[in-house]
């Protein structure tokens, strides 16, 4: 049996695959954040809280209204997205144009409030959320057992990433948005309702986070604290990828998943910290991230 630094090749393959699966999850999560920062210049620290709300929403829909996973995939992100749009309208609008630091602090505060309230009502241990029966089980790939649900996550992630990248970079709507961020007055002069566009975009970014939350509900515990652990990592992904670039975040998400996977094999204790090491190195070599545009 061939080994790479003491780890059998088969085991290494399975770890890389698992890494890719995790990476797709990171990519999905960072997508919303990348849109919000890249296009709106808001450092949305509340992203983790919205992710949690998506999962919580799915659980609430099941508990109280008997609505299952499949409809929840659409309903929960919609509700959370609307909530996000509301927040943008009432609070974020007031600090547009100010130093992005204030956006960061405001959303950080929001995150604390949302998580705190959820925690006081639902406790921290979390609630069980069952996997939809159509996706249970898995396939034996020979070198590892691949759960169907994880394959589904990869599929959705790749689809959404491609769709989002396409819309922002290749369609007219996307170009309006990018123009609106660069020069809102000029774009508004063309008759495009810029404030509405911005609100919608924030809502979309938030909705994407919530969708990631619904997808996470069957595999990670649904608890008010689930977002706070992930938020820093997702931020790092977006920063490494380059804060203006959707493509950068997607690529970094996948790459980070693989690198983390490898770290888990050779130096598992460091797997939560390796993202920061990469971030520090990247920022020192390429100040705006891998694909970012310098401000």
């Amino acid at each position: 049996m061939t080994t790479v630094f003491g780890v059998p090749l088969q085991a290494l393959f399975s770890q890389v695959l698992v890494g890719l699966i995790n990476g797709s999850f990171y990519a999905l999560l960072s997508l919303g954040l990348a849109i919000i920062f890249g296009l709106l210049n808001i450092v949305n620290f509340a992203h983790g809280a919205f992710y949690m709300l998506g999962a919580l929403g799915a659980w609430l829909l099941l508990e109280h209204l008997g609505i299952g996973y499949w409809p929840a995939l659409i309903i929960s992100p919609l509700i959370v997205g609307l909530f996000g749009a509301l927040i943008e309208r009432t609070m974020l609008k007031r600090i547009r144009g100010l130093d992005p630091i204030y956006g960061l602090l405001l959303t950080f505060g929001l995150a604390l409030v949302i998580q705190g309230v959820a925690r006081n009502y639902f406790g921290v241990s979390g609630e069980p959320y069952d996997m939809p029966p159509q996706l249970t089980g898995g396939k034996n790939l020979g070198f590892m057992f691949l759960p169907n649900y994880r394959a589904w996550v990869v599929l959705v992630s790749v689809l959404l990433c491609t769709l989002t990248w396409f819309v922002t970079e290749r369609t007219r709507l996307g170009s309006y948005l990018r123009a609106a961020t660069e020069n809102p007055l000029l774009v508004q002069a063309f008759g495009i309702n810029v404030p509405r566009l911005i609100t919608l975009t924030y809502g979309l970014g938030v909705g994407l986070a919530a969708l990631a939350g619904v997808m996470a509900a069957p595999i990670y515990r649904v608890s008010p604290l689930m977002g706070s652990d992930l938020i820093i990592v997702v931020f790092a992904v977006v920063v490494i990828g380059g804060m203006g670039s959707i493509f950068g975040s997607i690529l970094t998400g996948f790459a980070l998943g693989v690198i983390e996977g490898l770290t888990k094999v050779y130096y598992p204790e460091a797997s939560s910290t390796v993202v920061f090491v990469i971030m520090a190195i990247v920022l020192m070599v390429k100040p705006a991230g891998l694909f970012g545009r310098t401000a």
């Binding site: 992005p100 602090l105 505060g109 920063v239 920061f276 020192m284």
Partner: protein, 329 residues
């Protein structure tokens, strides 16, 4: 040379211009009020609680030097606060260093780390600067988690308070309070001096318009680095003091949430004001302790405070007060 130019030259040689001199003079009354409160307080309020406020106030002032006056938002200041805490605790406990030497060890460690982190991070601007400091701080957290000397999540416990100058025992809360107050005032006045010196003027110029400062011949990066190291060293002093007061150094001091707390204190108190960070620290420590009885609602209130501050209260308490009174505070 006219008398006026002579006077100005003399003043400049002393390091303080007349205009700056006036500004420091106008702070005399608030400073006197501050000292007055600090002298009376321990007889009315639990001294350990006051010492906690003083440690955090010094930390906030040091952070404000960087954020309010140089305009650099660092997300990793917990690194200096916590590292100094660990080194002071370890020095006092395992190496048996006397009180002053242990504090000095912590402060020097923080300054060295500040030099390192600053040198790495200064080249970047704005949010990227913040993210690099965060990344480095998290890496340091990981190091602290695994290094045996830090005691992992138990932390370093049972740190001896020692004696002041080998003579006066610091076990008593009141005695220690006077010492902590003296150190805090030293740090505070040092920062006031730095802010109102020509060096401080250059820092503010860099904050307002870096390219222009550079075009005037100032090496902005060097100034920023020096300010960073000063800020780190004073944060370290605060952290070391806290370790001695509570006789404990733990992982939470190096975690990013501690960095978040000091940002909130400075924001609430008033960015770029002299007394803002002190007031901010006092308020936040009080709120936390007051609401500790409410258990889980503390973080909600903290979050709410952040939101309210940013939306309606951006100048902070002292900032608003300063505007009302039409004098710099």
């Amino acid at each position: 040379m006219t008398a006026r130019v002579e006077a100005e030259t003399k003043a400049a040689a002393r390091g303080l211009s007349p205009a700056r001199n006036n500004e420091v003079r106008s702070l005399r009354v608030p400073i006197a009020i501050l000292i007055g409160i600090c002298l009376v307080a321990p007889f009315v309020i639990y001294p350990v609680f006051l010492m906690k406020m003083l440690c955090w106030a010094l930390f906030a002032c040091a952070f404000n030097l960087l954020l309010g006056y140089v305009g650099l938002l660092s997300f990793g200041h917990a690194l200096f606060f916590g590292a100094a805490g660990y080194l002071t605790a370890y020095a006092a406990q395992t190496w048996g260093f006397p009180f002053e030497l242990a504090l000095l060890t912590g402060m020097v460690t923080a300054a060295v780390l500040g030099l390192l982190v600053g040198w790495l991070a200064i080249r970047r601007q704005g949010i990227y600067f913040a993210m690099i400091t965060l990344a480095l701080a998290q890496m340091f957290y990981f190091f602290c988690l695994r290094a045996p000397f830090t005691g992992g999540e138990d932390g370093i416990q049972g740190v001896p308070r020692g004696k002041l100058l080998g003579l006066v025992s610091l076990e008593g809360n009141l005695t220690l309070y006077w010492v902590v107050l003296a150190i805090f005032l030293f740090g505070f006045f040092f920062i006031v001096r730095v802010i109102h010196s020509p060096f401080g003027q250059v820092l503010k110029a860099v904050r307002e318009n870096e390219p222009r400062a550079v075009s005037l011949g100032y090496r902005a990066d060097q100034y920023k680095l020096i300010a960073f190291v000063l800020s780190a060293a004073l944060s370290g002093l605060a952290g070391g003091m806290k370790a001695i007061v509570f006789q404990l150094a733990s992982l939470t001091d190096v975690y990013w949430t501690t960095s978040g707390e000091v940002i909130l204190m400075v924001l609430l108190g008033g960015l770029g004001t002299v007394f803002g960070p002190v007031v901010g620290a006092v308020v936040i420590v009080c709120v936390e302790s007051f609401l500790a009885q409410l258990g889980g609602w503390v973080t909600v209130v903290q979050g709410g405070l952040f939101v309210v501050c940013v939306l309606a209260f951006r100048r902070g308490i002292i900032g608003e007060l300063s505007r009302l009174l039409h004098r710099p505070l």
